[in-house]
Each structure stands twice: as C-alpha cells, then as structure tokens.
Amino acid sequence: MARLAAILKALWRAFQRSEKSIASLAGNNFFLVAVLFLGKAGSFLFLIIGLVILFPLSTDPLRKIPPSRLGLWPLEKREQVLLRAISPWINPMTWAIVALALWAARGSVTIGLWAMAAGIVAAGFAVSELPLPKGAAMWRRMPHFPGPLDQLIRKNLREMLTTLDFYCALLLSLATALYRLFGPPLPAEAFMAMTVLVTIALSSYAQCLFGLDGDGGWSRYGVLPLSGWRILAAKDVAFLLVVAVLTAPLAPLTGMGAGLMALAMGRRTSVLDPRPQTRWRFSAGASPMYGIGQVILMAFAASSIFLTSWLIIFPCVVFWAGSLWWYGQKLEESAR
C-alpha cells in the first residue's frame, strides 16, 4: 500500500501543478448543457449519469503517468486496480459533478437506477484500460481532397474521429434521424434543437483543434512553409465536414451556422492556449464560462438561421473568415 500511496501523492502533486484554478478545469460543452437539463431528470438522467461518469475521465489524473513508466513499476494487480479506481477522485471536478448529480436526482433514484449508474461507472473506468489504438488506425481509409492540404485534412478528420465528442454527436444524430423516419411527426423546431445539440456535442473540439497533434505535430506546423490561415483552414474543413454529415438528416444549414460559430469562438483557445487532448475521451475545452459563451453564440446563430432567414449564414461566414485570418496570423507568431 505504501507504493500506491506514494504514486497517488505524486499524482496529486502533478495534478495540482497543472490545474491551478477552477477556470483551468477542463470543460466540455455538451456536459455543461447536460448539467443545465439535469434538474429535469426523467429518462434523460441515464444519459446524464453516463456523461457525469465519463466526463471526469476526460481529465483523468492517471494520464499524468506515462504508460511505459506505469508498466515498469513493480505493482501488484490489486494495486493497479486500486490506482485505476482511486485516481479519478483526485480531480475535484469528479466530486463536484457527482454531488451535483446526486442533488439533482434526489428523491427519484431507484435501486435500478443505482445499478445502471454502477454499470456505467464500471464501463467508464474500463474505457481507460481498453486496448484502443494510439493513432487513428481504424480510420485508415479517408477520402482525398484537392490541393496541397489533402493529407492535413485527412489527418484532422482522423483525429476528430478518435474523440468521444464525435461518437456522442453521431449517436444523437442517428437517434433523431431514426425517430424522424419511424416515429410520429415532430415539430420543425425539434430538429433545430437537435441540430444545435449535435453541434454542441462537437463544439468543445473546436476549442482545442491542435490538441491531438502533440508536440511533434506542433513543431511540424512551424517547419512547413504554410501560412497560418491555411493550417487553420485544414482544421476547419475537417470539422465542418463532420458537422455537415451529422446534421444532414436534421437541419443542415442551421448546423453549418452553428459549426462556423463554434470554430470562430473556439479559435482563441485553439491557437493561443492549445490544450493537449487524449484520444477516446471527450474534448476538454477552456473554462466553463468560455464554453457557455460559445454555446450561446452557436444557439443564437442557429436559431436566427432557422427561425428568421437562411441569409444569416452569410454574417456567420464573414465572422468565421475574419477569425480565420486574424488567428492565422496569431498562429504564425506562436508557431515561431
């Protein structure tokens, strides 16, 4: 147990050094929106509890130990299991979220629900131990794109498809599309709402576009004779392509407007405060307040396009293009 205590102590120290303020605690926009709906409970609670458990794993403190180092330490199997189970609780956000979930679900928690939650906890912890590919080997085949950015766009698509954000958005999109096909008719506004939800699920990724490139990728961008806006454009094409595909069965133009806003707003943290991300986790954006601002702007653009006029897409494009140009210059400065 002394070994375990020493490792947990070191983890706690490492975690404290990198997470100095509440603002630096990672925030995922979809999680934030889910929290807003938490009080409504009902059947949605199952999904929320899943997110509550999966979200802390997106800031899993155990990540701070390189797997090669962890593998070398002479730990017993029992110690490894305990380390896996205890380490997420080093993150104070885990405690806060669980407390919030318990408070929101007060009085309506049945034994069945607890069993379900326990199952999701187990599954959530197991995700970290799955032998998932380091790169995007399962996404080897990608379409080609014209122009010199072809390989960068393909790479960016692969990166995006190794985040849980994409799968969460895919699930929402598929479920709504199936409901549209086989369920009773829904009011048109429902599709707008679901489109916004799908883009929100993807939006935290727009705050950390370089999060999966790693140090090597970042230094390669510095070496390549490419202007900053083109590097960002390669990121944006991949992001908007995913948005277009996932919102195609819902309200595509609305989705595109929300996607453009997500990119324009997310640009600042992507370029000026790049945050390393981990594959097969939810993207951890900047501060929750920043995420809320991004979500509000996305919802405003989407509802304006859907309820007022499709022409609103043009100011969205202008805003996006302006951010592309401005932060392209900033990227060149920061890559140097």
Partner: protein
C-alpha cells in the same frame, strides 16, 4: 550559406545563446557539438526561422531568417528535435504531404517518395501510422521529409541518435553525397565518432558560447579528447551501493 552575427537569445535573465558568430560555406557539413542545454537546439531554431533572436542577425541562403521565415522554410529541410510527426499520418502520407506543401508535382512527389522509402528501408512500413512506428522509423521518416524537397540547406537535430548501424551508415552516405552536390548541412550530434567521420567543420558550444570553430582537419587531437578538454569532462562518482546485496 549560413551566417550569424552576434546572435543572442535570452529567456528572461537566462542567456541561452550568447553572441554567436558563425559562417558555414556551401556544401559544408558543419557538426555542432555541445552538452545538453548548451544552446544547440535554440541555435537551430533561430537558424531555421522558428525562433526570433533577441539580438544579432542570421542569414541563411541569402535570406534574413527573422524577416523572411516562410521563404526560408521553402529553401531548407529540417529534422526537428522532436521529429515533427503527426500520429494520424502514415510514413508514406508524411512524405506525400511534404511534396504537396513544397509545391512538387504529384508525379515527382511519388517518384521521390518511392526512392526515399527504398533508400531508408522504409518500404515495409510505408502504411504504418507514425503513432505505431518505432523511434528509428520515426526518425527515418522525419529525415526523409527533410530531404524530399531537395533543400539548399539541411538542418538536422541529432539525426543519428536511436537509429540502427545500417540506417546510420545510409544516412551518412546520403548526407555526404548531398554535400558533394552543394547542399549545406548543419547538424547537432552527441555521437562523436559519427561526427568525426562526416564533419568538414566542427563547432563546439558551451553555456551558449562558441568555444571551438574550425575545419575538421584542424583539430589538435582526437575529437573526443578535444571535446572533453573544452566542453565538459565526464564526472566519476563511485556509487558504493550499486551492485551490493539488497538490504
């Protein structure tokens, strides 16, 4: 081909590179030696336009590196310290990306890619993602990316570390052939035997200052002895507990 005048880089109170003056001729193989933290990588970053100097000037291929970084990048090839690879691209895709970004035609890119994969024994792993490559494969991929655009100057940060002897020999032969054709090569190294074999110019740096700069043939003694004399001598510390029975 490379010219530095009073090149200095400070980080707050710490001076990483201090008044560095250096000239490297066309076709030379300049080996830049020094202990970890001496300022080698900082110098390379300034020479390649990745880091602006605090003061002084750098000229590479006749271009001011600080004023024309993008134009400079078109003319040089770089093997960065961290190799600069994307986990989500395969070995071959890295080379195709390089050709496209440097404006080579599709056919020429494929031709050079095939030749480089063959020359560096990377053919079998061409479809392997960088994330799954061994360190040696990653280094060879980054080396191939530096060569592919046919640069006028090559900057290589520790190219021979962690590569097998055969690959090391192939890389040395390629560099010497490139040098004979007029490509200027500036590389950092820790393996003194390799440095001694290929260098036409030796530069040693210690605590940000150049302590030796001469043609390779003008060293007064073996490179290793000279390095230990000028830069750093090995510390001998007796660890009496090492190898003793566990208590």
């Amino acid at each position: 081909m490379i010219s530095c005048r009073n090149l200095t880089r400070r980080y707050g109170d710490f001076t990483a590179v201090d008044n560095l003056n250096l000239e490297v001729d066309r076709g030379a193989i300049c080996v830049f030696l020094g202990p970890n933290g001496a300022g080698k990588s900082t110098t390379v970053k300034m020479l390649t336009g990745l880091l602006p100097p605090t003061s002084g000037s750098v000229e590479v291929c006749g271009l001011d590196a600080a004023a024309n970084p993008r134009e400079l990048k078109r003319r040089i090839g770089v093997l960065p310290e961290d190799l600069g690879l994307f986990d989500d691209l395969t070995v071959e895709e890295h080379l195709l990306l390089t050709g496209a970004v440097y404006g080579l035609s599709r056919e020429e890119t494929h031709r050079r890619t095939t030749q480089l994969l063959h020359a560096l024994s990377l053919e079998h792993g061409r479809h392997t993602f960088a994330a799954s490559c061994s360190h040696g494969m990653r280094k060879k991929t980054s080396f191939a990316m530096a060569l592919l655009p046919n640069p006028q100057v090559l900057f290589l940060d520790e190219p021979f570390e962690a590569v097998d002897p055969v690959t090391s020999k192939i890389m040395r032969d390629l560099l010497q052939a490139a040098s004979r054709r007029g490509v200027t090569i500036f590389l950092t190294a820790h393996i003194l035997s390799v440095a001694e074999e290929i260098a036409s110019q030796i530069v040693m740096i210690r605590k940000g200052k150049i302590v030796w700069n001469s043609p390779a043939g003008e060293l007064p003694q073996s490179l290793e002895a000279h390095y230990f004399d000028l830069v750093e001598s090995p510390v001998v510390e007796e660890l009496e507990w090492l190898g003793s029975p566990p208590s």
